[in-house]
Amino acid sequence: MSAAAVHSLWTTAADPISKIDAPKIEYGQLSPTLIVVGAAVIGVLVEAFVPRRSRYHAQVLVSAVALTAAFAAVVALAADGYGTTKAGIAAMGAIAVDGPALFLQGTILLAALVGLFTFAERRLDPEAHGNRVDSFAAQASAVPGSDSERAAVKAGFTTTEVFPLLLFAVAGMLVFPSANDLLTLFVALEVFSLPLYLLCALARRKRLMSQEAAVKYFLLGAFASAFTLFGIALLYGYSGSVSYATIARVVDGTVTDVDPALAGTMGNDALLLLGTALLVMGLLFKVGAVPFHMWTPDVYQGAPTPVTGFMAAATKVAAFGALLRVLYVVLPGLRWDWRPVMWGVAIVTMLGGAIVAITQTDIKRLLAYSSIAHAGFILAGVIATTPDGISSVLFYLAAYSFVTIGAFAVVTLVRDAGGEATHLSKWAGLGRRSPLVAAVFAVFLLAFAGIPLTSGFAGKFAVFKAAAEGGAAPLVVIGVISSAIAAFFYIRVIVLMFFSEPRPEGPTVAVPSPLTMTAIGVGVAVTLVLGVAPQYFLDLASQAGVFVR
C-alpha cells in the first residue's frame, strides 16, 4: 500500500497536502546502537523461550557477541572517517556521529564487555545446593529472608535478566553522548537509567541494602530526570526547538525567523538560564558531581559489585560525553555564564570527594567518594573549553573506566562468610596472604592517585594541562591539592594491605574464573599501557576531539 493511498482516506480535497516523508535513517552509522538494542531484545526472548539451564550460557554468548560486534562497528565507522572527515548528523538530526561520539561509544562498549565478564562470574560465591551462582539474587521478586527466597535459592534460580538489562543500559549510554537533540538526550537518559535502577536492586547478598540503594537511586534519579525534562521544556520555550544546532544558533542570536507560536518567549534569557541550569543539573547528577552526588556512596555500596563497577565506569563516560556535547555544542555562546558556575562545581567536587573519602571505612564507599573526586578532575578538563579540553576528557574517561572496573572486580574477590568483605579493617594484611591480588589492587590505587607511569597520571596531566591552557590555573592548583588529599586515603589502603598484620579471622581471596581474571588483567594492562605509552591513545583522543554541529 503506497503512502498516497493511505492519505487518500483522510483527505477529501483535491489539493495535495505536503507528503510526510519517511524518515531517512542511516542504519550503517547507527549500527553500534542498533546491534546492542537488537541483542537486548534477543536477550528478552531468550529469557522467555530458552530452558532455564541453558539461559546463562545463551545470555552471556549473546551479550558478548553483541558488544564485540558493536565495538567492531564503531571501529569500522571510525576507520571509515566518520570520526573526522565524514562526521555528520544522522537519523533526521537526532544523533551525531562524530569523533567524540565514536570514541565514547568505543570506550563504553569495551567497558561494558569487561563489565560483562564480572557480571557472568559464577565461581566466587560457594555453590548453593549444587548450583553455581553469580552475584545476583536468585529471584528478585522473592522477599529477602522469606521462604520463597529460600526455595528459589534451593531450586538454583539465577537472575539471567541482568544480561539484557545490561545491554539496554549500554544502548542508552551509546545514544546519550551522541544525542543531538534534547528529546533524544532525555530518552537515552531514561533508557540507561531504568535498567541501572533495577540492576542495583539485584544483589544476592545483603539484599535489603541493595534494594535500599536501588530505591534511593531511583527516587533521586527520577528527580534529576524531572529537572532535566523541565530544563528541556524551558529551552524549547526559549528557542522553539529541541535541536542542539538550532538552540545554539538562537543563543548566538543568528536566528531571525521567530516561531509565531513562541513569539512571547523566544529569546527570553530567563528561560535560557533556567533551562540551562536545570539541564546541566541533571547531567551533573549523573556524573556524580557535588552537590548532586548524595546518591553515589549509598548506591555504589549497596549495588552488586559488578554493577557498581560497570556503573561507575560506563555511566560516567556516557554522562560526561553528554555534558561535553551540551556545553560545547549547544551552549558555547553562553560559556561566560556557565564557566563560573562550573568552576565552583569542579572545586567543591574535587575537594569534597577527596576530603570526605578520608573518613570512609568501607572500600566501596571509599571508591565512591574517590569517583566523585575524579569527576571533579574531569570537570576541570571540561571547563577548559578548548579542543585540548575535549580530548583530555576523552582520554581521562577511557583511562579511568578501566581502572574502576578492575578495582571493583578485585573487590569482588575478597570475601568472608558474609559475602564480600568490604569493611576496610578486613583488608588488613591482605598483602601477606595474597601478594598478587594486593599488588594488583595497589596498582589500581596508585592509578587513582595519579602516580606517574600509570594511566591515572597521564589522564590527570592531560586535563590539568588543558585547564591551565584554558586559563584555569587556580583550578589546577586546587586539583593538585585535592590529589594530595586523595593520595592520603589511597595510600592508607595500601598501608593496610601491606604493612598491617593479617587478622586471624580475616577474609579469604576467592580464586575467580578466567572471566574475572580477564577483567582484572585488562584493567591492569590498560592502566600500565596508558601510563607508559599513552601517545597512541592521546592521538586518537585528539583526533576525535571535534564535535560536529
Binding site: R432, R433, P452, V477, I481, A487, S500
Partner: protein, 523 residues
C-alpha cells in the same frame, strides 16, 4: 646510532629488579646474588659513562633523544653533565654496598604464605629505586624527570614500611605501627611536594610549550622566551618546594628522622645518600637553569633556611638518644650545607656543593652502615645501651670512628674538602652566612664525638661484652668506603675535574641575565 649507554645504565637495574622479583620463594640466596650481580654490572656501566664523559666537551653528553608523548610535548631526552656523572657514579657505587649490607635484613622471620617473598621484594625494590634515581639524574626533559622523581617514591615507600630492624624495644607490633607511620609520612611529604611541582610543570608547559631543559634554557638565555616576573617566581617556588622536601630543607625535613629511624640501615643510606641527592641535584639543574632570575630573587630566604637547617639539624643531633635519628639530623645539617653551597652562587660554593653530595653519600654510608651492624648485634638503637664497644670489637669501633670523623669533616677525609669549599664560596659573597655556617662544624664535632664516646669508650657494658667484631661480609662493605673517604680527602681532583666545567656553566646561566655589559660581551 651509537650504543645508548645512559639508557642501558638505567635499564639494567630495572631488568635486575624484575629478574630478582621473579626468583622463586625458596631460592632466597640466589635472589641476593642476582641482585648483587646486577648492581655490579650497573656500576660497570656507570664507570663507562664516567670514562666516556669528556669534561672539556659539550655541556650535555651521551645524549639520547626520542619522541615519546608528542601530545604533551614530552621527549625521552637523556644527557649528562659533570654533576650528573658524579652523582650517577655515586649511586652506582653505593648500591652494591647497600645490597651487601642488607644481605640478611629481609630474611623472612616466620614462614607466612608460600607466595610471600620478602627477600626477593627487598632487593628488587632497591634495584627499582636505583633505576629511577639514575634516570632522574640523566633526564634532560622536565616531564621525564618529574615522572621518575615521583615514581621512585613508591618503591622507597615499600622499603621503609615493609622492612625494619629486627629488634625493637617495644616489640614487633609497635615497630610495625611506627614503620608504617614513617612510610606514610615519607610518602605524603614527598607526594605533596611532587604534586605542587606538577602544577608548576604544567605551568612551565603553558609558558614554554615544551619540556626540553636545553631548549627552554637556551630560549631563556637568548631572550626569546619571556616569562613574567611573577610567573617565573611562582614556577620556581613550585619546583623548589618539591626539591626542598626531598633534600630535605628545614622546615620540610620532619619526615627524614622518622624514615631513617624506622628503616633498616641500608635503606636509610639509600634514602639519605642516594634518593635525597636527587633533590639537591635538581635544584642545581632545574631551578637555576630554568628560573635564573627567580633563583636570585629567592636566594636570601633560601640561604636563611639553609642556615637554620645547618644549625637546627646539628643541635637536634646533639640531643638524640637514638643512633639512627642522630645520623638523620646530622644529614639535615649537611643538606643545609649543600643548599648553602648551591645558592651562594659562586663557583667554589657550587663545586663544593656537588662534591659535598658525593662525599656526604660516602661518609653517611660508612657511618650508617657500621651503625647498622652495631645495632643488629645488640638489638637496640639507643645510644645508652652501648658502652666500651671498642674493647670487644675494635675494627667495628675503628670504622665507626672514621665514618664519624668524616661526618664532622676532619681534614684528610673527603668531606673536609667539600665543606671547606662551600664555606669559602659562602664567605666570598655573604661573609655573615659563612660565619654562622661554621658553627655547624663545631656542633658536628660535638655530636659525633659524644656519640663515639658514649657507645665505644668507657666500661664494657655486660650486654655488649660478647659482641663479635665485623664479619667478612661487613668488612667488604666498610673497607672500600673508608678507602674512598681517605683517597678523596687527599686527592679530590678526579671528581672536581668532572664537576667544575658543569658548575661554571650553571653559574653562567644564572648570571647571563645580569645587566652588566661585560657578561653580554663574553657571550
Amino acid at each position: 646510532m651509537s650504543f645508548p649507554l645512559l639508557t642501558a645504565t638505567a635499564v639494567l637495574p630495572a631488568v635486575g629488579a624484575i629478574a630478582t622479583a621473579a626468583v622463586p620463594a625458596a631460592r632466597r640466596t640466589a635472589a641476593k646474588w642476582l641482585a648483587l650481580l646486577f648492581t655490579l654490572a650497573t656500576l660497570a656501566l656507570a664507570v663507562a659513562v664516567a670514562v666516556r664523559f669528556d669534561p672539556g666537551g659539550d655541556r650535555y653528553q651521551l645524549t639520547e633523544s626520542h619522541a615519546w608523548i608528542a601530545e604533551f610535548g614530552v621527549r625521552y631526552e637523556l644527557g649528562v653533565d659533570g654533576i650528573a656523572v658524579a652523582l650517577i657514579a655515586l649511586t652506582a657505587l653505593l648500591i652494591p654496598f647497600i645490597v651487601l649490607a642488607g644481605w640478611h635484613d629481609a630474611d623472612p622471620l616466620e614462614t607466612g604464605s608460600r607466595r610471600w617473598r620478602p627477600t626477593q621484594g627487598f632487593f628488587a625494590l632497591i634495584l627499582a629505586v636505583e633505576a629511577m634515581v639514575i634516570l632522574s639524574f640523566e633526564a634532560t626533559d622536565v616531564f621525564l624527570f618529574y615522572i621518575f622523581f615521583e615514581a621512585m617514591l613508591i618503591p622507597m615507600y615499600f622499603l621503609i614500611g615493609g622492612f625494619g630492624d629486627r629488634a625493637h624495644e617495644h616489640g614487633e607490633k609497635a615497630a610495625s605501627t611506627q614503620r608504617s607511620y614513617a612510610a606514610v609520612k615519607f610518602l605524603l611529604y614527598n607526594l605533596v611536594g611532587g604534586l605542587i611541582m606538577l602544577a608548576a610543570v604544567i605551568g612551565l608547559y603553558v609558558v614554554a610549550g615544551n619540556f626540553s631543559l636545553q631548549e627552554i634554557a637556551q630560549a631563556r638565555a637568548a631572550g626569546t622566551l619571556d616569562m613574567a616576573t611573577s610567573t617565573e617566581r611562582w614556577l620556581f617556588l613550585g619546583f623548589f618546594f618539591a626539591f626542598a622536601v626531598k633534600a630535605p630543607l628545614w622546615p620540610l625535613h620532619t619526615w627524614l628522622p622518622n624514615a631513617m629511624q624506622e628503616s633498616t640501615a641500608p635503606v636509610a643510606v639509600l634514602i639519605t645518600a642516594v634518593v635525597d641527592k636527587v633533590g639537591t641535584f635538581a635544584m642545581l639543574r632545574f631551578c637555576l637553569q630554568l628560573f635564573p632570575e627567580a633563583s636570585k630573587w629567592a636566594t636570601p630566604v633560601i640561604l636563611v633556611l639553609a642556615l637554620i637547617s645547618i644549625i637546627y639539624g646539628a643541635l637536634l643531633a646533639v640531643g638524640q638518644r637514638d643512633i639512627k635519628r642522630l645520623v638523620a639530623y646530622a644529614s639535615i645539617s649537611h643538606f643545609g650545607f649543600i643548599v648553602l653551597g648551591i645558592f651562594a652562587m659562586t663557583s667554589q660554593g657550587q663545586s663544593g656543593a656537588t662534591l659535598y653530595m658525593v662525599n656526604h653519600g660516602i661518609s653517611t654510608a660508612a657511618l650508617m652502615l657500621v651503625a647498622g651492624f652495631l645495632i643488629s648485634r645488640r638489638g637496640s638503637r639507643l645510644i645508652a645501651d652501648y658502652g666500651g664497644v671498642q674493647k670487644v670489637a675494635p675494627v667495628l669501633a675503628g670504622t665507626f670512628l672514621i665514618g664519624g670523623l668524616a661526618t664532622l669533616s676532619l681534614p684528610g677525609l673527603a668531606p673536609f674538602v667539600s665543606e671547606f669549599l662551600v664555606l669559602v664560596g659562602a664567605f666570598t659573597r655573604y661573609p655573615a652566612v659563612g660565619i654562622v655556617a661554621t658553627f655547624g662544624i663545631v656542633l658536628a664535632a660535638l655530636y659525633t664525638l659524644v656519640l663515639y664516646q658514649r657507645t665505644m669508650t668507657g666500661p664494657v657494658k655486660p650486654e655488649v661484652s660478647a659482641m663479635p667484631d665485623l664479619r667478612v661480609r661487613e668488612l667488604v662493605v666498610v673497607a672500600p668506603l673508608v678507602v674512598l673517604l681517605l683517597f678523596l680527602g687527599v686527592y679530590p681532583k678526579p671528581v672536581t675535574d668532572i664537576v667544575n666545567p658543569a658548575v661554571q656553566q650553571t653559574l653562567s646561566d644564572v648570571h647571563k641575565k645580569d645587566p652588566q655589559p661585560e657578561v653580554e660581551a663574553a657571550k
